[in-house]
Amino acid sequence: MSASTPPPPPSAPPVAPPAAGPVQTGSRKSKSFPAQVFDFLSGFGFAVILLSFLFLLTFLGTLAQRNQSLFEVQREYFESDIILWDDLGFPIPLPGVRLLLALLAVNLVLGGIIRIRKRAATFGVIVTHIGMVMLLAAGLVEYVASTKGHMTLYEGDSSAQYQSYFEWEVTVTKVGETRRLSIPGEQFIELDPEGIAVFQHATLPFDLVFGNVGKNTDVLPANQHVAGSDLAVMDGFFLRKLEPNIQAEQDVAGLYFTATAGSGAGAEILDQGLLWGRQRAPHRLEHDGAVWLIDLHRKRFPVPFEIELLDFRKEEHPGTMMAKAFESDVRKTDGGQTQELTISMNEPLRHAGFTFFQASWGPSDAKPGTPLFSTFAVVRNPADSWPLWACYVITFGLLWHFCMKLWKHIQREQGKRERNLGEEA
């Protein structure tokens, strides 16, 4: 993955194989500081450190999934730069996987592609490193630019949007207008229990103040309210915050909002209420003769074409409840052109940069004749096919390198045996 200039062991033959060995760039004393930094960043030692931390973080992140949702673990371990790991009772700072992967990419490029000796023996190693860089680039593009969610359709239904598994948004719509103001969940979902967030927009004649935000909540009627410990009752209901689910997609966010005319201590309160992720209808706010709809729901993404579910089929192994196959016949309508296709397990539909995967179906307790729905996982990932190309490159590089090494090893062993036979003769 990189090349460096290790000091030779004092009393043993050099252990580093010459094929992928370091480039000698002169003695360490004569090197400038930037050169030393370059040496470090491109060195085997740095590679080993990064790989070791990556190994450790992967292990810890795997164990953490026993008690935490995958979503939380991903954010804490794999999409962070620094974590404070405190499973032993005291915090230990560790680099997050995002930071480690960024540094690994630097090490790969500097050591494994730029600095490494360019000759026939290192050809496979260089190719492999290029493939690894491609893979990391695919991960980066997916992390930065992809969107993921699901589209659930009953037979006969159609849709041109999908919704996120985890992300939330509050939308504010003026009745009679099609334009909609969206407040992304990342701006309020992580608020402290006592924290508030104020939102203003030029098109809004009022400010919105969010508080008491819960990632996972339930709504209970006022008759179950315990004064002093529960949150305030609004329109006969109150929010109760719950522990996050291990399956984070099952969490239902909730919050209290206040609409005010102007900001500051003297601002007039126009309306107050609670928003819950599973409420059937948006909150209705009347102000200056206009009606506004405020809604909290999972983030929705538009698709530039329409998908209609024509038929959903599930097949079970005979005499069992175990699914053998399930697949959906869909009609795709894009710019007046329609096409009928089948989406099944391992056979997704790819179109216009979006991919639709057969994810699940329901209701799980459906009886014969019960209308079924089909759920598609929908992904928009510009780097969708990059891992496949990276896989080709890495496979070629690794096989080339290690087959060459194996061939040399066989020749060496054969030579030894012939020499031994010669000596015996």
């Binding site: 580093a16 194989p17 030692g45 790989l51 190994f55 795997t62 991960g139 997916e142 397990m345 891992p387």
Partner: protein
């Protein structure tokens, strides 16, 4: 079955009665068994131990049945039913006669009065008996009990089992889990013991002349006669109900006949034994004996050949004591059912599967590897003897041939690539590790890889045997929908599994290296011979060579693990819509890749040498263990089809042994360093 039941709803009274019987049948076993007045089959009469003619056993061994969504030989069902009940795949009667699974099943089906008194129910801990209130004074803590002994506590057994079933299986205590397993085995035995009851019965015609005419003038008929003529009986009953007065004698006789039929012609549907005489597109689910009244009455399916098969089975029941006749009836029964299954295109691999289980290739391979390992030990005691090497080669290559034969047969039976279940990973990893060791031996010719191949083979086959014993389930289950892709099973799963085997083989070689070093071998320069006879670790360049092999295997592991892991990501991208999701199983595979990369880079960077590579390779073995088994024990993630229970103990033992070994190595290194330091050679 669902199609049949659906059609029944549209028929008349007769159909309704049959439907009621069918529905009752689904619950028959517990309710009938739990009644206070019920007696176990074995308490009414003691019978002599039956003997089963070879032809009868052979015929029943290959009878096709449908179970858990696939067609398999009756012997496969018997194998796992006996294993679940008895904890072993064979059992010895009270008279110390060894019984195969098929013979045991014949005993339960045909001579339940004998089988009920045989102690075939394994109770692993007498706390299970305390829980269900069965006295066990004078018995061993772990002992076997008969159906008749358990019968008096059947109600408590059911109640406790129902109580413990409410607890999630991973949260049950061992005793709770054993109570549930015992209850399952007990009620399955009961269902089997009563399965052939309709075929044992005679149904008197009574004073019903038209019915007698339909039945060929007989005074009483067997179940097969009824099935053959069921449609005419139904039509007669319907006609007489319209034509005759309610108190008509013939109608009353027919009524009595029908009620008798429904009562005694009903039996538990524990075996789906009878292929529908129509194509699979019409009816996918096979029938049980008690289904046939409903099938004959409520569907247009032909039933004549099924009636012939049932008549043959009645012949088997009736001809006890006449081996020739019994064999003839059994062969006829098997032949009819096989033909029916073949016509449906569902009998392609039944005989092969029966032969596969009878061959027991993996068990035989295990002993070949053990024998080879014994000769490896002898080879170390007598290093210059050629014959030890020859025997090692023969045993290891033969063991590998048997493992390969078994895997190939499984592939043909399942129409799948070699690896699609956790059990198959054990077989494939063992096979590829042994093959890799033999190839290494061809290149290296130092007998180290050869000896290691015998050890890995024996260990792998033992693990496969223990896994099958512990799970006590068919090892060829149907696959979940997401796994129904031979392309990805043959690329991703196979590749990543080869990576596992390379990692474990490297770990094994690292053990050899470190043992050699602790015994006094040196990496690089030869140790002077003592008495002119060099031990294996004293041979010139031996340890260096082992270290090179270990390094090569780590590289091999890196190649296959990396390619396999990326292929897995590409598969996940096609199935679940994301390349990488940090799922535990994915992380486990990534950890193997990372660890192998760490070893290679640490070596290239000069941070570790031969001993360091060996130690890191052993840690690599632990990483493979975590990825292969450990992540399954976490019980989270998308790879739920790989979950297993009960492997935790084995994995802990593996970890403790390996860590103890590494501690010994560290201690040895420390002592060596201190001694060198004290003598000034450090």
């Amino acid at each position: 079955m669902t199609a049949v039941v659906r059609r029944m709803r549209t028929r008349g009274l007769w159909a309704g009665l049959i439907a009621a019987v069918l529905l009752l049948g689904a619950w028959w076993s517990p309710s009938a068994l739990l009644a206070e007045s019920t007696s176990p089959p074995g308490t009414t009469a003691q019978t002599a131990m039956p003997t089963w003619p070879e032809g009868v056993v052979e015929a029943f061994r290959t009878v096709p049945i449908q179970q858990d969504g696939r067609v398999k030989p009756l012997s496969t069902y018997a194998r796992y039913a006996l294993l679940e009940q008895n904890g072993r795949m064979t059992y010895r009667t009270a008279a110390d006669v060894k019984r195969t699974p098929t013979e045991w099943l014949l005993e339960v089906l045909l001579t339940p009065e004998f089988a009920a008194n045989e102690r075939t129910f394994q109770v692993q801990n007498d706390e299970v008996l305390d829980a269900i209130g069965l006295a066990h004074e004078g018995r061993k803590k772990r002992d076997r009990y008969s159906f008749s002994e358990l019968f008096p506590v059947r109600q408590k057994l059911l109640a406790k089992s129902q109580e413990y079933t409410q607890i999630e299986s991973k949260d049950r205590t061992p005793v709770e889990a054993q109570v549930v397993a015992l209850a399952n085995a007990f009620f399955e035995f009961d269902a089997l013991a009563r399965f052939l009851d309709p075929l044992r019965a005679e149904f008197p015609i009574g004073d019903a002349p038209e019915l007698r005419a339909i039945m060929g003038g007989k005074e009483s008929v067997r179940y097969s006669d009824v099935v053959r003529n069921i449609r005419q009986v139904g039509e007669l009953w319907g006609r007489l109900q319209h034509e005759r007065a309610p108190d008509d004698a013939e109608l009353a006789a027919l009524d009595a006949f029908v009620r008798d039929l429904m009562e005694r012609g009903n039996s538990p549907r524990v075996l789906q034994l009878l292929p529908p005489e129509v194509g699979t597109e019409d009816e996918e689910v096979w029938f049980s004996i008690a289904d046939m009244l409903g099938v004959g009455m409520n569907t247009p399916y032909p039933v004549e050949r099924t009636a012939d098969a049932l008549a043959a089975l009645e012949g088997v029941i009736d001809s006890r004591g006449d081996p020739m006749a019994m064999t003839a009836h059994a062969e006829q029964f098997q032949s009819i059912l096989s033909d029916l299954a073949t016509e449906r295109g569902e009998n392609d691999t039944t005989e092969l599967e029966a032969a596969y289980h009878q061959g027991d290739w993996f068990f035989k391979a295990q002993w070949l590897f053990v024998l080879g390992f014994l000769f490896a030990g002898l080879g170390w005691l007598f290093p210059n003897r050629t014959w030890t090497g020859v025997v090692m080669w023969l045993t290891s290559a033969s063991g590998l041939a048997l493992v390969t034969l078994g895997i190939v047969q499984r592939c043909i039976i399942r129409s799948r690539p070699p690896v699609s279940t956790l059990y198959e990973t054990i077989l494939f990893i063992t096979g590829t590790a042994v093959a890799a060791a033999l190839i290494t031996e061809v290149i290296n010719r130092r007998r180290i890889a050869l000896a290691t191949s015998t050890f890995l083979g024996a260990l792998g086959m033992f693990l496969a045997y223990r896994f099958e014993m512990h799970e006590a389930k068919d090892t060829m289950p149907n696959l979940q929908a997401v796994l129904d892709t031979n392309f990805w099973l043959s690329t991703h799963v196979t590749t990543v599994t080869i990576g596992y085997s390379a990692g474990l083989f490297a770990s094994a070689m690292a053990h050899v290296y470190l043992i050699g070093k602790m015994l006094g071998g040196r990496s690089g320069t030869p140790v002077p011979a003592v008495g002119g006879n060099l031990r294996w670790y004293q041979q010139p360049d031996m340890l260096k060579s082992i270290s090179r092999m270990t390094y090569g295997l780590i590289a091999f592991c890196l190649v296959f693990s990396t390619v396999g892991t990326i292929l897995g990501g590409i598969w996940a991208n096609d199935s679940w819509g994301r390349f990488w999701g940090w799922d535990p199983k994915e992380n486990g595979a990534l950890m193997i890749c990372l660890w192998a990369a760490i070893i290679l880079h640490a070596r290239m960077g000069g941070f570790v040498r031969d001993t360091g590579i060996a130690v890191m390779s052993i840690v690599g073995g632990l990483v493979v263990g975590f990825s292969w088994w450990g992540v399954n024990l976490l019980g989270v993630g998308l790879h739920s089809y790989g979950f297993t229970s009960g492997a935790a103990f084995g994995l802990k033992v593996f970890y403790y042994v390996e860590l103890a070994f590494l501690a010994v190595v560290a201690g040895h290194q420390l002592i060596g360093w201190l001694m060198r330091r004290s003598t000034g050679t450090a």
